[in-house]
């Protein structure tokens, strides 16, 4: 029997055999998480989750990245599906480093395009282009979405690879604004402290 100060630990199932080394890859692969904080705002890259598949990545990303503040929508994609341009700095636009495409056909696959507008910040969704492959998607994005403002990095992701939030799923965040117990503003001890200080002043 374990004897821990933590009652939860004492209830854990007994391990009789010696602990064998854990199997490799129990942390699974990674998935990129994008969040839309408000209707009308762009989706922004927030980080990654480890998960065994795309659907679980969606489920797990929801609480890892949107259990606070506001959120109206979320999506995830396998990290390996993100096609990345070279990274630039200073006055160099990442679009200038993208090789010319050999074909000029518009293409029949849809790609989501993301820009890094400031080094140190996150990638933000800027639009959708049709192309035959991610390389061409970057070229089309340069024509369609390059405003001339410096972009330090471009991402292209095939739309069909993404697990989006459906209209019905949007109710997942219904009670989020009521979860005040996760917020500093719910812990106002000022009055209690003031009363205490006044009381102790009288006593001393």
């Amino acid at each position: 029997m374990l004897n821990s100060l933590d009652p939860r630990v004492n209830r854990l199932p007994q391990i009789n055999q010696s602990i064998s080394p854990k199997a490799p890859l129990d942390q699974f692969g990674t998935f990129e998480v994008f969040v839309q904080p408000k209707e009308g705002k762009s989706f922004q890259h927030e980080g990654i989750v480890h998960a065994p598949n795309l659907e679980l990545a969606y489920v797990l990303a929801k609480e890892a990245f949107t259990r606070r503040f506001t959120c109206v929508s979320l999506y995830v994609v396998d990290t390996r599906e993100v096609f990345v341009s070279p990274m630039t700095e200073g006055n160099n636009n990442a679009y200038d480093l993208i090789p010319e495409s050999t074909t000029s056909t518009p293409g029949n696959q849809s790609f989501e395009i993301y820009h890094l507008a400031k080094r140190g910040k996150q990638h933000v969704h800027v639009g959708t282009v049709a192309a035959n492959n991610p390389e061409e998607a970057m070229v089309h994005a340069r024509e369609k979405l390059n405003t001339g403002k410096i972009v330090f990095n471009v991402w292209a992701i095939a739309t069909e690879a993404i697990r989006f939030t459906s209209e019905e799923d949007k109710e997942l965040w219904l009670t989020l604004p009521e979860k005040k117990f996760r917020d500093a503003s719910d812990y106002k001890g000022g009055d209690k402290l003031k009363n205490f200080l006044e009381r102790t002043k009288i006593n001393h």
Binding site: L5, D6, P7, R8, K22, P24, L25, D26, Q27, T30, G47, I48, V49, H50, A64, R67, R68, V84, P86, M87, E89, R119, G120, Q122, N153, F181, R182, D183, A184, S185, Y187, K188, G189, K192, L193, N195, F196, L197, R199, T200
Partner: protein
């Protein structure tokens, strides 16, 4: 939560000599300009190694740190405390998740980091190894250990590595909840029954020495630390962090009528840029 007392020893600075001088100069110029380093950018081997070590230690401390407070989740008194503590400990796990992700961008898989934690190869903040005997110990951690961690994390958030800074921005936003929640709990104990006050005083007596060690030993400024500070990996000395914590929180603990178990701690007047401020003097050579 726990970003304190990182250890940087063990890696020689000699490796810098073998780096490409042009790339190294560009790298240093970028940091000097206040720009962030991103995963795809060139970086010296020493920078990469030290960052992995630091972020990994930080992540481990969060994961292990979820345990001493987690001990009280099933015993938190009342609905409000029960839900708050669950959310608070959950955040610590979340911080671990964010920090491992940041470290992964430097090339070490989470798998390997967790392996090194389990095998005892990686270090983490020693404060999370102390047991929580009562509810008041848990309140001490929520308020003051987190307060100490915030001092470290706010400094590190101004560091040079983009993914680590972004993780810390998120973490610091959540820490404000931890700090307010912890202070709220302690105010209730302080203004409560004699038994409640006694519980917190005893917790304070137990936790003060590890709290002071949390910030790490006094720094010996070596060529090594000098380089890490220039690269904005290390953002301040351990003593600076410790003193900042003391300046901010000792008055708040005294305000609640508790005794800090360190007779050398006293109110002093110190002259800072022309203004007279009430600061706390602490003799750390003791």
């Amino acid at each position: 939560m726990y970003g304190g007392g990182n250890t940087f020893e063990g890696i020689k600075t000699d490796s810098i000599a073998t780096e490409d001088p042009t790339k190294l100069a560009e790298f240093e110029a970028r940091i000097e300009r206040g720009e962030k380093i991103e995963p795809a950018d060139w970086m010296p081997q020493l920078y990469r190694k030290q960052l992995i070590r630091m972020i990994e230690q930080h992540a481990h401390s969060e994961i292990i740190g979820a345990l001493p407070e987690g001990t009280w989740i099933t015993r938190a008194p009342g609905f409000k405390r029960k839900m708050s503590l669950m959310a608070k400990v959950q955040d610590e796990v979340g911080h671990g998740q964010l920090l491992y992700s940041a470290a992964e961008t430097l090339g070490k898989p989470r798998e390997q980091m967790i392996e090194d934690l389990i095998n005892g190869k990686s270090k983490y903040s020693n404060i999370v190894n102390y047991p929580t005997f009562t509810w008041a110990d848990c309140c001490f951690i929520s308020w003051l250990v987190d307060a100490g961690a915030i001092v470290n994390q706010l400094a590190n958030a101004k560091g040079s590595y983009g993914p680590y800074c972004r993780a810390l921005d998120r973490i610091c936003a959540e820490e404000s909840f931890h700090l307010k929640y912890g202070h709220h709990c302690v105010i209730y104990l302080a203004s409560g029954t004699p038994k409640q006050r006694q519980m917190f005083q005893e917790a304070l007596n137990r936790w003060w020495p590890p709290m002071m060690h949390f910030f790490g030993p006094s720094d010996k400024i070596s060529a090594h630390t000098e380089v890490l500070m220039r690269w904005k990996v290390k953002m301040g000395t351990n003593d600076e962090m410790r003193n900042q914590f003391l300046d901010m929180y000792v008055p708040k603990i005294w305000e609640l009528g508790f005794t800090i178990p360190d007779p050398k701690l006293k109110r002093v007047k110190r002259q800072v840029s022309g203004n007279t401020l009430n600061l706390i003097g602490k003799n750390l050579s003791a």
